[in-house]
């Protein structure tokens, strides 16, 4: 039930992101979702793509420092209070969210929230118990 994400280390300097997107474009990789965490010196670009393995390899070949990790994708109705209900469930269980980012499905009815937890398996169990829809990786890669 987990989704594989790749993270890329970027220095904060002009052209950094452009280089990554160019490598991915040349490798014909499609980006499904992304988030960029930044500090004053560096950033971490996190991507979910249609072909994780190939994306990782193309970036590594270009000298990027890349790391794979697992995140959880949860589908919720795109309406007020949608995110709150998930966070409330996790909070009750004392599960920490390391970071999160969201995107809206093309049909526009549902939103997909990507979570990185400190205790991934427990989080998945808690969400499923409470009836949330967790999307498998395959579904996200091919959206």
């Amino acid at each position: 039930m987990k989704v594989e994400q790749i993270s890329i280390f970027l220095e904060n300097k002009p052209g950094g992101l452009e280089y990554v997107t160019r490598v991915l474009k040349n490798a014909n990789i499609n980006i499904r979702a992304l988030s960029l965490a930044d500090t004053s010196d560096f950033g971490i670009l996190r991507l979910i793509v249609n072909d994780t393995e190939r994306a990782e390899k193309s970036l590594q070949d270009e000298g990027f420092t890349v790391r794979r990790s697992f995140v959880v994708a949860v589908e919720i109705p795109d309406r007020p209070g949608g995110l709150h209900s998930i966070v409330e469930t996790l909070s009750r269980k004392g599960i920490n969210i390391e970071y999160t980012y969201a995107f809206v499905e093309r049909s526009g009815e549902n939103a997909i929230i990507i979570f990185r937890f400190d205790r991934t398996e427990e989080a998945i169990a808690a969400l499923q118990e409470n009836g949330f829809v967790i999307l498998p990786g395959k579904k996200i890669y091919s959206l």
Binding site: S7, F9, L10, T39, I44, F64, T65, E98, R116
Partner: protein, 433 residues
Amino acid sequence: MIFDEEFETLPREALEALQLKRLQQVAERVYHTVGFYRNAFDEAGVTPDDIKTLDDIRRLPFTTKKDLQDNYPFGLFAVPMGNVIRLHASSGTTGKPTVVGYTKRDIDTWSVLMARSFVASGLTRNDIIHNAYGYGLFTGGLGAHYGAERLGASVIPMSGGSTKKQILILQDFGPTAICCTPSYALYLAEQGEEMGVDMKSLRLRVGILGAEPWSEQMREEIEERLGITALDIYGLSEIIGPGVAIECKEGRSGLHVFEDHFIVEAINPATGSPVKNGEIGELVFTTLTKEAFPLIRYRTRDLSKLVRTPCRCGRTLTRMARVSGRSDDMLIIRGVNVFPSQIESVLLGIEGLEPHYQLIVEREGTLDTLEIRVEVSEKIFSDQVRGLQQIERRITKDIKDYLGVTAAVKLVEAKTLERFEGKAQRVIDKRRI
């Protein structure tokens, strides 16, 4: 004024005769009391009896910083510990410091040399000396302190740091002289101005500045902003500490080496042979009178040139020009000696870090800054910002703990720092000194 008129103005012939006698004595003494020197002399095929003239010093082997490290901590001491009354230390090229020891007479000699230095700078017993050199293992603080007391001046044992308090004391106690590094003198000027203090109207009139390289332009700026005469003092803990050589106020052109206690040579660092008179070479010192920690032909790695012409102050002592650089990669950052190899060993002590790094030294305003650029490898990289920030903090902390300097850490992309075949140039020194 001259503190030790007799010794500081000896005719060259008499001075050289005294040096020869003392050189023969120290060679004899280290040969019989320090195992390291017995081996080194034997290997070089020389005995103390071979020293018939001063030029024969060239037959003696050099001593290097590595020899000091190999004999850490007390292996080169020439007296039993019972006779050692003080220990000091400075940074070595690896994790271990360089340790030096003093007998009661060594402390006495050192105090006299510092008193001579103060008098050469125009000070008398009526002066108040603000001593902002660090007190502790560093020789600067206590060396200047004892010299000031020997002169009979009033010494304020300020040590380093607490800049605002220093400025308060400069205003209220009215010291007439200050001892510190040149960059700290400028920093005091800058901070004082920022606090709205008219730094030129203080009673300060002389600065005895050293422990790091500086330039004529920097001297002019210090003199202008503090309204003082700034003089250069030279020394290194291995030889005795500050007070090996001092610029006189009358000449202000080169530093007089106290040759009745030290023999100074300038050599070609690559070949070890003497450079021609007036050419830049690496300074090599032999201690003539030190008891606890005598050194034969110690290679300082400091580059300078020797001037043997007479000085208008009346001293007959050889002068060394302001130190113009190093023949190794040692950096002096805010008065602290730092070797890139020390930084490398700290980095490699942190799991997952690779030895791809670069050091950027700059001078921001008046203070030196050190930035360490480290490549991010897959071993330390994670998808979380926190993990990388922890690495940054760990590096800063370890560098501070082991080396005593504050460094800014910048993580950079893998394989973006230059790779070297052969000797790496890891240091970019942007300071214009």
